[in-house]
Amino acid sequence: MDIALEREKEIRRLEEVERKRREDEHRRKELEEKQRKEEDARRLEAEKKRKEEAQRQEAEKKRREDEARAKAARDKQRVAEERRLKEDLERARDQRLKDQLARELGSTTSAARTGTPVAGDAGATAGWVDKIRAKIRGNVVLPPDLPGNPQAVFLVQLLPSGDIVSVRLARSSGNKAVDEAWERAILKSSPLPQPDKREVFQARLELRFSLRDEP
């Protein structure tokens, strides 16, 4: 038996094994390298995505915060507006109640003639009445020698500015021309004088005209 040949065969087999092992090793390394690269690429990609997501989330968060701030500001403003409106209404109502009270007090005292003046309002009312009477009377144009003593009653609506909103003949004198002369005097007197004290203002006046004093 050829030992040398056997040995030669064995060496070649061993070499073959070794080569194969090296090839395997190489392939394995290549594969590993490839896998590593792929892994890296995946990781990079993931990282990138994560960053983008973070940015997006950041932007979204900021937007929401902005919105929230704006809404808060709006809400605050609306609340303030509503409060102001409510306060205005309440103030107006209070004023009207006060006016009404003043009027009722004034009329009771003047009607009852108790002689106790209410905080000077009766005086202010009297002063206002005098100013209105003087202005309207100054605008009345009637012949001095009209027969009899014609009398008429007008209802007048006023704005607080004194401007006359409406004039209504409540009781005619029976003489159309005389009624119209009085109506002209009322209209010519617009705006009527304002009272010295705002509280005594009244939006409705009853004007009782007569040509001359009753004897």
Binding site: L89, R93, R96, Q100, R103, E104, S107, T125, V129, I132, R133, I136, R137, G138, N139, V140, V141, L142, P143, P144, D145, P147, L155, N175, K176, A177, V178, E180, A181, E183, R184, A185, L187, K188, Q202, A203, R204, L205, E206, L207, R208, F209, S210, L211, R212, D213
Partner: protein, 437 residues
Amino acid sequence: MELTYNRPFFSACRTVERLFRILAICLALLATAAHAQLTIEITGAGGNQIPVAVVPFAGESALTPAISDVIEADLARSGRFRTLYTGPQNLSDTSTVDFAPWRGKNADALVVGGVYPVGGGRFEARFRLYDVPKQAQLGALAFTLTVQQARATAHRIADFVYEKLTGERGVFSTRIAYVVKNGARYQLQIADADGANAQAALSSLEPIISPAWSPDGSRLAYVSFENKKPVVYVHSLASGKRQAVANFRGSNSAPAWSPDGRSLAVVLSREGGSQLFLMNADGSGARRLLSSSAIDTEPFYAPDGQSIYFTSDRGGSPQIYRVAAAGGPVERLTFDGSYNVTPRPSPDGKYLAFVRRDGGRFQVSVMDLASRQVRALTDTGRDESPSFAPNGRMILYATQVSSRGVLAAVSSDGGVKQRLSVPAGDVREPAWGPFLN
């Protein structure tokens, strides 16, 4: 999505709710206001002349006189208007009026109009009367007229304005009668109430006196001396025909119409002395009203026809008396002074105008028949023949300026006096005519 859709809906609901609340508050306020109202009593007036602006009528230069000039003069002469200077305005009855500038001038009333040719030498005059403070039209009218009727049309417009603003009829369209002496010639003339547009109804070389208008304005009774003695005639103005209704022995004078136009009161001396008689308007049926030994003259019917005012010297001096038209007891009305003559009751029967001598002056005076208070109206010294305007507002009378007779008028309260522009001559015996319908 649904939420955002609903939000405006809810807010709309809130708004509506708020509106209702405000409405409720307003209603409540109105309710309280209805209880509380201030009563102000206003007596008297600040003035007695209505400020009125008469704007020149568009196209009125086609007529003479200008219509707006006559209207303005009429209103001013009445004493019850203050006419405002308007200046040229581009305004007519077809304009839309901006009231602000007229309010600024403090005008109560505004008259605008136009004169428009309608062919055949005729015109249409249209006008509108506005209440300035009220910014409303008080009335409007249109007249068709010839060139010759410009003045008459203007008077009618002035009457309309006067009545709308004073509530009483205007007298601008009424006529007056009077006697003019020019040299040796006497003329009975009839003119517009302002003295313009005079026309002679009768000319004579003998005196004409005491013209008296029939209540319907169609006839004049007067006394003419053309037959060398006083005779009462009734003269129909439309036809010019006349009739001697009282031509008795002695003097026939001082005719006065009953308010129904059927009777005349006259003064006849046929039974000796001047005495009051009543007769039918055609001169028939003369019957003596009073028997007295004194002079009774100048009769004038009360407007209700029930009594007759007259002048008599039965008390020793000429004074004014009253007697029932059916006869009966006589009532003396004047006691103050030694000479009160020519009684003329006002159309409403409440006042009596007459001539009173005070010292050496003869003045038109007025008595309030209810209180018998007497007031002198004039400050001239030789007044005679007072005659009430048919609306009772003015009294026309004759007076003298440098010994020439002129006509003057005074408002029944004495506030307004004026001279009538009757052309040259000696003018006397005025009588203011009735309303013409």
